[in-house]
């Protein structure tokens, strides 16, 4: 079709009469220099050899922001791990909680059969069981 248009003056005029900009479609026939194309192929082949690591979707070379972010995350992980260990080893021995315990007196003569008195962390818990209580 384009070849015909290129060689047929009456058709050219008909196209030009309708919309001359359509004549630019003939540029699809414009030949490209084989030397340029071959040079392009050679350059691409050469550069492709060193431009892509041989693995799948992760083949995109890491850009410097990616590398920096990864390094920062790694450093942060190391630091937080170290800080945790340091805090544990350096933490002062807890004071004897017994010195701060509240005095709880239970009259064992009034139906109390069991008393549990314990401390969890800094919380003192005293449980008293009285079988005489009717709840």
């Amino acid at each position: 079709m384009l070849e015909h248009l290129r060689a047929c003056p009456p058709c050219q005029r008909a196209v030009a009469g309708q919309d001359p900009s359509m004549l630019f479609g003939l540029l699809a026939l414009a030949p490209l220099s084989p030397a340029l194309l071959d040079d392009l192929s050679r350059t691409i082949a050469r550069r492709a050899g060193s431009d892509r690591p041989p693995y799948g979707a992760l083949a995109e070379p890491a850009t410097w922001p990616r590398r920096a972010a990864a390094a920062a995350m790694f450093a942060l992980t190391l630091l937080s791990g170290y800080a945790t260990l340091y805090e544990r080893s350096a933490a002062p021995t807890p004071l004897a909680l017994s010195s701060r315990r509240a005095d709880v007196e239970v009259d064992s003569g009034r139906g109390v059969s069991q008393v549990i008195d314990l401390t969890v962390g800094e919380t003192q818990i005293v449980m008293v069981y009285n079988g005489d209580l009717k709840l």
Partner: protein, 201 residues
């Protein structure tokens, strides 16, 4: 159909790291990539740089290509974006190169025959001169439609815009080119040889 299957095999192999398959792919597609880039940038060296960048990028990201999609559309998309970037990188003078004044003389002269009027080299000169008046996306839409012969829907996918936007780009581009041809190249639009009464065949 066989070509499509061959192409899919080629893409799959190249995506898997087969360099020979990739080189075959380049061989198959280099003409259209260079031609598209050339028509958009208006400069052969820029077109070569664009094509090189397009294929190297392709080599790196081919694994991500969805084989159910149309490869050429994807390739055109990468090419058009790279070509437009290339124009913009040129800065304030980011327009197509104007040819020397005498480059289109044969096109301007109505006394010359139509067979000469459509000498492709001269037609190319006229296109570059007039396409410099188009916005990059209008130029890209026109090139894909009239020179590469793509359908509007495919151009829309390649440019990442709606079909109505493509139609609008084409409308504007044709109007500007038509006006430019009428004004600057009357030999193309109105020039007739007195001895040529042929009818369109």
């Amino acid at each position: 159909m066989r070509d499509d299957e061959d192409l899919t095999d080629l893409i799959r192999a190249a995506a898997g790291g087969d360099r020979r398959a990739f080189e075959d792919l380049v061989l198959r597609k280099r003409d259209r990539v260079v031609r598209t880039a050339f028509q958009i940038t208006g400069n052969l060296e820029d077109a070569k740089d664009v094509a090189q960048g397009v294929f190297l990028r392709l080599w790196r990201v081919l694994q991500r290509f969805d084989l159910t999609k149309r490869f050429d559309t994807w390739l055109y998309r990468i090419t058009v974006n790279a070509a437009i970037d290339s124009i913009r990188e040129r800065g304030p003078k980011g327009t197509l190169q104007a040819l020397p004044e005498d480059a289109g003389d044969r096109l301007r002269d109505p006394s010359r025959g139509p067979d000469e009027l459509f000498d492709l080299r001269q037609l190319q000169g006229a296109f570059f001169r007039l396409a410099a008046r188009l916005a990059p996306r209008q130029r890209a839409a026109f090139v894909l439609k009239e020179i590469e012969g793509l359908e509007t829907a495919e151009i829309a996918r390649a440019l990442g815009v709606t079909e109505s936007t493509v139609r609008n780009h084409l409308l504007q581009a044709r109007r500007i080119l038509r006006d430019g041809l009428s004004k600057d190249y009357p030999g193309l639009t109105g020039g007739r040889r007195a001895d040529d009464d042929g009818e369109p065949s």
